[in-house]
């Protein structure tokens, strides 16, 4: 009786113990992610603010009048202490207020009056952010199933002609710059065969099918870039698993190869594959900047590049913060999903 009760307690306690440890690991990762984001925001702020020299002067150039320089300085609060400014900036950013862009501030000071109608950075970014998320969503919807299927097939028929051809093709597509792939796609799918539009002029209130059609070419370019990485990593993950004894066992039982992969290997390969997918979506962030410029896609990447060219610091800072946050978040997701999808942690003995 006593022994049975002890056994029961043991069985009762062990799973919750493991679940607790999973939760604890996840909580730790989340805290670490938040801390990283906080430090990254300091780095982004410091990169702009702690350099020597007068920033307002440098922005306006040699010919600026002292009044204009002074107007910019007070406008941006450059006469205050950096730590205080950082606190204000971060506090504002947390509430969705990212300041007002320089392009507008400049204009106000030249006119000599502040009309109070200048758009804030947040207003500029919000619609573009939605557009970029749409582009990323379409890309992921095409790339993920495509890459995982290709990866499984390459692992299944490894060292065949198919595997070698995909190896060469994916290696080439990884090595090509995004704008090369983009122009090749434009050449063949938009100019020589006018199937898809080469300019993505997206505006509010467009029909979904129109919007999808205009997004397709940039999404295909990004798909080419991301699929190659994803497919190679999926292939490696599955080949790694195929070497394990239980797969050998399944094969010796005479199960057909496709079933071995789908029923036996895939559930255990899920964790690495999910990890790969999340990591590669993080890689999209870099690709989005160049691709949006090529297709004149009104997303956050294009705004970022335009602001870099006219040195619109508040917008650059805000975009940088958003990109870094997305990057950290996706890496964090990859981390947490690979913990959660580990069968050993989900089904404790």
């Amino acid at each position: 009786m006593g022994e049975a009760a002890a056994n029961l307690i043991l069985h009762e306690k062990k799973p919750t113990g493991i679940l607790d440890s999973v939760l604890k690991i996840i909580a730790q990762r989340l805290a670490l992610g938040l801390l990283t984001l906080f430090i990254v925001s300091i780095v982004i702020f410091a990169a702009v603010n702690l350099l020597p020299g007068d920033f307002a002067q440098a922005i306006l150039g040699q010919g600026a009048t002292p009044e204009a320089v002074e107007a910019i300085r007070t406008d941006l609060g450059l006469d205050q202490h950096p730590v205080k400014r950082y606190m204000q900036w971060l506090g504002g950013a947390l509430q969705g207020d990212l300041g007002s862009s320089f392009a507008q501030a400049n204009f106000a000071s030249f006119v000599g009056e502040d009309s109070g109608v200048r758009t804030s950075v947040a207003q500029q970014i919000a619609p573009r952010f939605a557009n970029t998320m749409f582009l990323a969503g379409v890309t992921a919807a095409i790339a993920v199933p495509f890459a995982v299927t290709l990866g499984i097939l390459a692992a299944l028929y490894r060292n065949s002609i198919f595997d070698r051809a995909t190896n060469i093709l994916t290696l080439s597509s990884i090595s090509s710059p995004e704008f090369f792939l983009a122009y090749v796609l434009i050449l063949f799918l938009a100019v020589l065969n006018p199937w898809l539009p080469s300019l993505s002029n997206i505006y509010d209130g467009m029909a979904f099918s129109d919007r999808l059609e205009k997004t397709l070419l940039p999404a295909l370019t990004l798909t080419l870039v991301v699929t190659a990485h994803m497919m190679r990593m999926t292939r490696a993950a599955i080949i790694n698993l195929l070497a394990s004894p239980y797969i050998e066992m399944a094969r010796l039982k005479g199960i057909n190869p496709m079933r071995v992969i789908v029923k036996h290997a895939l559930p255990n390969a899920l964790a690495p594959i999910i990890n790969v997918v999340a990591l590669n979506l993080a890689y999209l962030i870099t690709g989005v900047v160049v691709v949006e410029v090529v297709f004149v896609y009104p997303g956050i990447g294009q705004l970022f590049v335009d602001s870099v060219k006219i040195r619109d610091i508040p917008v650059v800072q805000a975009c940088c913060l958003i990109f870094a946050a997305a990057y950290i978040l996706l890496n964090l997701t990859a981390d947490i999903l690979s913990i959660v999808s580990n069968p050993r942690l989900r089904h404790p003995k």
Binding site: T36, L37, I39, V40, V43, I44, A47, V48, L51, G53, F55, A58, L153, Y157, R158, N159, I161, F162, I168, L171, S172, I174, S175, S176, P177, E178, F179, F180, Y183, V184, I186, L187, F188, V191, L192, S198, N256, M258, A282, I285, T286, V289, V290, V293, V294, F304, V305, S307, V308, K309, R311, I313, V316, Q317, C319, C320, F323, A324, Y327, I328
Partner: protein, 398 residues
């Protein structure tokens, strides 16, 4: 709609062909294991591959010999791509044959085991190095020289608006594209190479230092690198370049960009150097050197560095590709290598609108693609060589 129907019918036909192929194979060979155990997916794959091959050959023959020139223009790039592919394959094959016949016993052995992709890579890298070093002698004109003839069509055929003096034409303000492509090898590749070297010097030495000293040096450097790596490289580079552009212009900005990229990439090198260094530091010979009373410099440069060359070399190739692509992307966005230096990324940006003429004058639109292709060719080549090196050193069969 009819396009979709054609696609579906073609798919069904290929599936039927695959099934027929397997069925006849089974009957003809008397159920040989190869055909008996063939999955339908594999048969479908063979049929699909054959269909694509037939389509490619048919299109090529049509464009080359059958269609009139005006209609064949549509397939100009397709035909050029096939010519380029065959040319490089043959060159790589000949180069490998040459390598097997000439040279020391060691190099001949190396070439004997080399796959065709790797020999292609080595050949392309050698070609680029040659052009980069001798650009000033090989280029017909200067990189900044502006001629009166602007917008000359590539191809050198006067009937199509070309000029034999400018084989690849001139750009909108009349600079010779061929010369700028050749100088681009010097500028783009050279700057990427210098950047990678600085990144390796900085990241490598700090990484080894962290591995040797441990303690607070290691901790503070590693945490700093963690933070810097949490921002995507291209995004961080764009932020820092914005800041730098407030102070420096023109060539100064190019130098600033080199330093910024070197700093960002040194974090990645630091990670690897530290990890490799950690494994070496625990070896007995390091202990012996410490007991002999050798100083830090001796231990890092004479004991650790020689034992870490193999992984660092492979990393150098990959890092170079990454730096090269990022710098090209920055130049393409207009904030990388600044004029008057000729550079491939900037050339693509400047001439990108030519692509829209491809349908009726394919030669015109080849200029931006040549510059973009020059970037892609080098990175593909380096990746092929690194892939082969990693495959060889890991001894993997898969």
């Amino acid at each position: 709609m009819s396009g979709l129907m054609t696609f579906l019918i073609a798919l069904a036909a290929i599936a039927a062909a695959g099934w027929a192929f397997r069925f006849t194979g089974q009957k003809v060979t008397g159920n040989a294991p190869r055909f008996r155990d063939m999955a339908f997916a594999v048969a479908f794959g063979y049929a699909l591959g054959t269909a694509v091959l037939i389509w490619a050959v048919w299109t090529y023959v049509q464009a080359q010999f059958i269609l009139p020139e005006a209609e064949a223009n549509k397939y100009f790039y397709f035909v050029t791509a096939i010519h380029g592919f065959i040319l490089f394959a043959v060159l790589a094959f000949l180069f490998r044959l040459l390598g097997r016949a000439v040279g020391t016993a060691g190099s001949r052995k190396l070439f004997r085991q080399m796959p065709l992709t790797a020999s292609f890579g080595v050949l392309v890298i050698l070609l680029y190095t040659f052009f980069a070093i001798f650009a000033a002698w090989l280029a017909p004109h200067g990189q900044e020289q502006v001629f009166a003839q602007a917008n000359v069509v590539p191809g050198g055929n006067p009937a199509l608006g070309g000029d034999p003096a400018f084989p690849l034409g001139t750009d909108q303000i009349g600079r010779d594209i061929l010369s700028r492509l050749i100088y681009g090898a010097q500028n783009t590749v050279g700057i990427a190479f210098v950047t990678t070297m600085i990144a390796f010097l900085l990241g490598g030495s700090l990484g080894f230092l962290a591995a040797t000293l441990r303690g607070w040096v290691d901790q503070s450097l590693s945490r700093l690198v963690d933070v810097l790596m949490a921002i995507p490289a291209l995004i961080f580079a764009l932020l820092l370049i914005t800041v730098a552009s407030a102070w420096v212009k023109g060539t100064g900005l190019t130098i600033a960009m080199v330093l910024i990229m070197a700093l960002i990439d040194s974090t990645r090198v630091f990670r690897l150097a530290r990890a490799v260094g950690m494994n070496i530091v625990v070896m007995d010979y390091i202990e012996a050197a410490k007991l002999r009373g050798e100083n830090l410099r001796y231990i890092v440069f004479r004991e650790i560095l020689p034992n870490a060359t193999a992984p660092l070399l492979a990393e150098f190739g990959l890092r170079f590709c990454f730096v090269f692509l990022t710098i090209s992307s920055l130049s393409f966005l207009g904030v990388g290598i600044q004029p008057p230096l000729a550079d491939w990324g900037t050339m693509v940006k400047d001439m990108s609108s030519f692509i829209n003429y491809a349908a009726f004058a394919p030669q015109v639109s080849s200029a931006p693609l040549l510059a973009a292709g020059a970037i892609a060719l080098l990175t593909v080549a380096v990746n092929f060589v690194v892939d082969w090196m990693l495959h060889r050193s890991s001894g993997l069969k898969e």
